[in-house]
């Protein structure tokens, strides 16, 4: 498959050149996925999809146009190249347009399992049945939806400057969403998901996921309002994407810096958070779904500190933003890859006892403005503690604060950093100065 994609990519580059492009970049992908879905209390559908796409970026007279198609054949590809050139013709001149030079990314083995690529449909259905059987052991868990999926993806990125990289990966992935339900009560919904690159260990992970969701939603039955206060809250790993990692990614982005939107444009080497925060982008962490040998334009991706002991160490750049800013690409076209936050020194019990009033936020349903850093939303699936003693699950309780202030107010982090749904590897984080509204 890789050879076929390479031929398609080379032909598309030639097509773009023939139509007058000064330089061009192509990404060709092929994906086969099989999925079994659960809805309305039962298995509901079995799906097989084969998808392919070719994406083209052209530069002509320092103007950019992009196009893509999943239609096959020379004429469809020629049409895509023509559309990209047409858009470039009407686009504005940009003297900084550029493409990365040839790369030789270090291979990242461990993400392709032939057993997934050849997984019999019956085995996929068996895994799905096992997954749901475990979740259904908890009778008070009403499953709204779930699926198990097996995927094989091949990719080639090539450009007219000689870059050509390729990759193949397999994934078994799953998701389950549900709520606690009794005759008199329905809880907020909650969800869990995960991936495995191969078949080894997947049965245990599916069982764990199904069991864990049941425990989580049942723990939310019988919620009451908490108290309004301004003070400490304990953020679970599931909240850190919205409240910490996404806004941080915004402010370290070379693109936001060059556009004057980052507050951290002059903060390299300076304290931006409490000194107990250390955050790393590690694209070679195979426990995380963002593990990859290269970024979205084929530039090698490697482990880098983003924040070390509270000090900002990284502005992330693509080839384009690096040229605009007079620096070099950090291998971050498309953003950060696989985030790890280093653990702290406190046990979960010590963190729970660290404040007289404490909301433990398990899921955040709200908005965060990345520019101001202001956030506000509902503390979902959350729990209330007083003086380290558990009180009750919460309902109709909102939290509000500011990302920049919150970073300065990190009290402590839990002593374990675990992969959360294979998305981030992060601990629980105790922060101060958050407004809790429960009127």
């Amino acid at each position: 498959m890789i050879d076929k994609l390479k031929r398609n990519a080379t032909a598309m580059l030639a097509q773009a050149e023939k139509l007058g492009a000064d330089e061009a970049e192509v990404r060709a992908t092929h994906n086969v996925s099989a999925r079994v879905t659960w809805e309305k209390g039962d298995f509901s559908i079995s799906v097989l999809n084969t998808k392919s796409e070719i994406e083209l970026e052209v530069h002509k007279d320092q103007r950019k146009g992009t196009a893509s198609t999943n239609e096959e054949g020379d004429s469809a590809h020629a049409d895509a190249a023509q559309r990209a050139l047409t858009l470039a013709k009407y686009s504005l001149e940009d003297q900084y347009l550029c493409l990365p030079k040839s790369q030789a990314p270090e291979e990242l083995p461990g993400r392709f399992d032939p057993a997934v690529a050849t997984l019999p449909p019956a085995r996929l259905h068996e895994l799905a049945a096992l997954f749901l059987a475990e979740a259904k052991r908890e009778k008070r868990l009403a499953i709204d939806g779930a699926h198990v999926e097996a995927e094989v993806t091949h990719e080639v990125i090539a450009n007219s400057d000689g870059l050509q990289v390729s990759d193949a990966e397999t994934q078994l992935s799953w998701v389950v969403m549900g709520m606690g339900k009794t005759e008199t009560e329905v809880t907020s919904f909650d969800y869990l998901y995960g991936i495995n690159w191969g078949v080894d260990g997947v049965e245990d992970r599916l069982r764990d996921c199904g069991r864990e969701l049941g425990e989580r939603v049942v723990g939310c039955l019988g919620p009451r309002k908490g108290e309004s206060y301004k003070g400490a809250v304990l953020l679970s790993p599931g909240t850190l994407g919205d409240l910490l990692i996404n806004p941080m990614q915004f402010h370290i982005s070379g693109r936001q810096i060059m556009d004057g939107k980052s507050r951290w444009d002059k903060s390299l080497g300076k304290l931006v958070s409490s000194s107990n925060l250390t955050l790393v982008d590690n694209p070679r962490n195979l426990q995380l779904s963002g593990a990859t040998p290269y970024d979205a334009e084929g530039v090698s991706a490697s482990r880098k500190h983003v924040i070390k002991d509270g000090v900002l160490e990284l502005h992330m750049d693509s080839t384009y933003s690096a040229r605009r800013r007079g620096t070099v690409s950090t291998g971050h076209a498309g953003g950060l890859h696989a985030i790890e936050i280093m653990p702290g020194g406190k046990s979960p019990d010590e963190l729970l006892a660290a404040a007289d009033k404490l909301v433990v936020v398990d899921r955040f349903s709200g908005n965060l403005d990345p520019i101001t850093g202001d956030f506000s939303g509902i503390a979902k699936c959350s729990h209330y503690y007083r003086n380290g003693q558990y009180q009750h699950p919460l309902t109709e309780t909102m939290i509000a604060g500011n990302f920049f202030e919150m970073l300065q107010n990190i009290i402590d982090l839990s002593d374990q950093s675990l992969p959360w749904c294979n998305q981030y590897q992060v601990p629980w984080i105790l922060v101060d100065g958050i407004s809790v509204s429960a009127d």
Binding site: I45, V47, N49, A67, L87, A142, S188, N367, I371, D374
Partner: protein
């Protein structure tokens, strides 16, 4: 293509659905005087769904030859047979229902396809430049235009054979104002089903540059609101979001069966007598709503569904399968995002019907509260508890509007909020046409309504 699909379906045994879908998506974004996005995407193929052994099987193909489509049918059948081994409850045969045989080209499709891309890009470039020039406090302006041309053909073995072509253009403008190291964004986004003129007839397109720039500058000095429960008048965009997120999702029949808070509520009071809420595939009360469809992705013709009538829940939203489950007619809510997606129960244009008072009268009769303007993103869950953002709030004291407060998050429990409604205005607007609903797959929807007064919780920072 339609004849080819009819021929293939005619040779099949059992229930088969073929859906051809080709999308042309053009995206243009300008900021800081440069074109960030100038992209054109084509994605096309055929989705095949079969009902065999009482189970659904699905497969798709990008190869449009008859042989490839027949192979996809075989794959879908094999999938259905496989899942039937683990699916406990089998789906009964779908009863006969009215199915579309229309061929429709909706307003604006051909005109917009003919309009040159350079004119569209020039508009986006001008809009960014003009916004930036409105005030020295505007740090950045981002203008975007998107158009989505949709060609669909649905053929089923029980009689649907319909085709449509429609286009949905969208316009987005963001202004980021800056002062003393502080930055704040104001946004105006809109979308319609229709052509260029339909887009620029939308109320948000009127003076969009001036309004967006002014709002960003004004909000720079606006304070934060105090948290707590308050009397609020919700703007049409927020009423639309409330209708869609907090209530609409709970009445999607698949979610009802799974255990949403709307389960068992048909015939019961869920809102005040002033509340009548509908979901429609057409554009009642205002033109060119962005969720318009002439028929759904099962070929069921367009229709309006009254979900809540004067506060009493009347109907859920159905596809053909859930309609059988509940013993009712399908409501035309089966929708798929792309050819390789199976149809799910989705909303279209969701709204609360207007009342009789004017907005001025409602403000004048409010001793203390807020007028909440502009919907941000929102979420709701099975309990009906919802959260969404509002762009800004205007204080009301003794029946008069006062100072502005910056972005606020509002929350509540949907049916409690509906029961607290004590005033509904006569004005009506579609105002979520730039939005996309997420439920495993995206869906293009719209929502709106009148101004509505209710009690709601505000998330503050004090």
């Amino acid at each position: 293509m339609k004849t080819q699909l009819e021929t293939i379906v005619g040779k099949q045994q059992g229930w088969v659905e073929l859906r051809y879908h080709r999308r042309l998506l053009n995206d243009l974004t300008v900021q800081k005087g440069r074109v960030d996005i100038a992209n054109s995407t084509v994605i096309a193929g055929i989705g095949v769904r079969v009902l065999e052994n009482g189970c659904w099987g699905f497969a798709s193909t990008v190869d449009l030859s008859s042989a490839a489509i027949e192979r996809a049918i075989d794959s879908a059948r094999a999938n259905a047979r496989e899942v039937s081994k683990i699916q406990a409850k089998k789906i009964p045969d779908l009863p006969a229902t009215e199915l579309s045989r229309d061929e429709i080209v909706m307003e604006g499709y051909n005109d917009l396809l003919r309009k040159p891309l350079d004119e569209k890009l020039a508009m986006v470039v001008d809009m960014e430049r003009e916004t930036l020039g409105r005030s020295s406090k505007i740090l950045t302006a981002i203008s975007s235009y998107r158009e989505m041309f949709e060609d669909k053909i649905i053929v089923t073995s029980d009689g649907a054979s319909a085709a449509h072509k429609l286009v949905r253009p969208e316009l987005r403008l963001t202004a980021i104002a800056s002062q003393d190291g502080e930055q704040i964004a104001a946004r105006n986004n809109l979308g319609v089903t229709g052509g260029w003129n339909c887009l620029f007839d939308h109320h948000r397109a009127q003076n969009i540059v001036e309004n967006t720039a002014r709002e960003a500058v004004e909000l720079l000095s606006a304070p934060y609101i105090t948290g707590g429960t308050a009397t609020c008048i919700l703007a049409p965009s927020i009423v639309g979001l409330l209708s869609h997120e907090a209530i609409g999702h709970t009445v999607e029949a698949d979610f009802v069966i799974a255990g949403s808070v709307a389960q068992g509520q048909i015939g019961k009071r869920v809102g005040s007598e002033l509340v009548t809420m509908c979901d429609s595939s057409a554009s009642e009360l205002g033109e060119f709503a962005a969720g318009e469809i002439p028929f759904d992705d099962e070929g069921v013709p367009a229709r309006k569904t009254t979900i809540i009538d004067k506060g009493i829940m009347k109907s859920y939203l159905h596809n053909r399968e859930s309609a059988v489950h509940f013993g009712v007619e399908p409501t035309g809510n089966a929708r798929a995002w792309l050819y390789h997606d199976e149809p799910l129960i989705r909303m279209r244009n969701t709204y609360i019907e207007p009342g009789e008072q004017t907005l001025e009268e409602i403000i004048a009769s409010t001793p203390e509260g807020y007028l909440l303007m502009g919907a941000g993103s929102g979420q709701a869950d099975a309990t009906g508890e919802f959260m969404f953002g509002s762009d800004y709030a205007v204080e009301i004291k003794d029946g008069k509007l006062g100072k502005k407060f910056r972005e606020v998050t509002i929350s509540g429990v949907a049916f409690d909020v509906l029961k607290s409604v004590d005033a509904v205005s006569s004005e009506f607007q579609w105002d979520l046409g730039s939005g996309y609903c997420g439920k495993g797959q995206p869906a293009k929807v719209d929502a709106g309504g009148p101004y509505v007064r209710c009690r709601i919780m505000l998330g503050g920072r004090q």
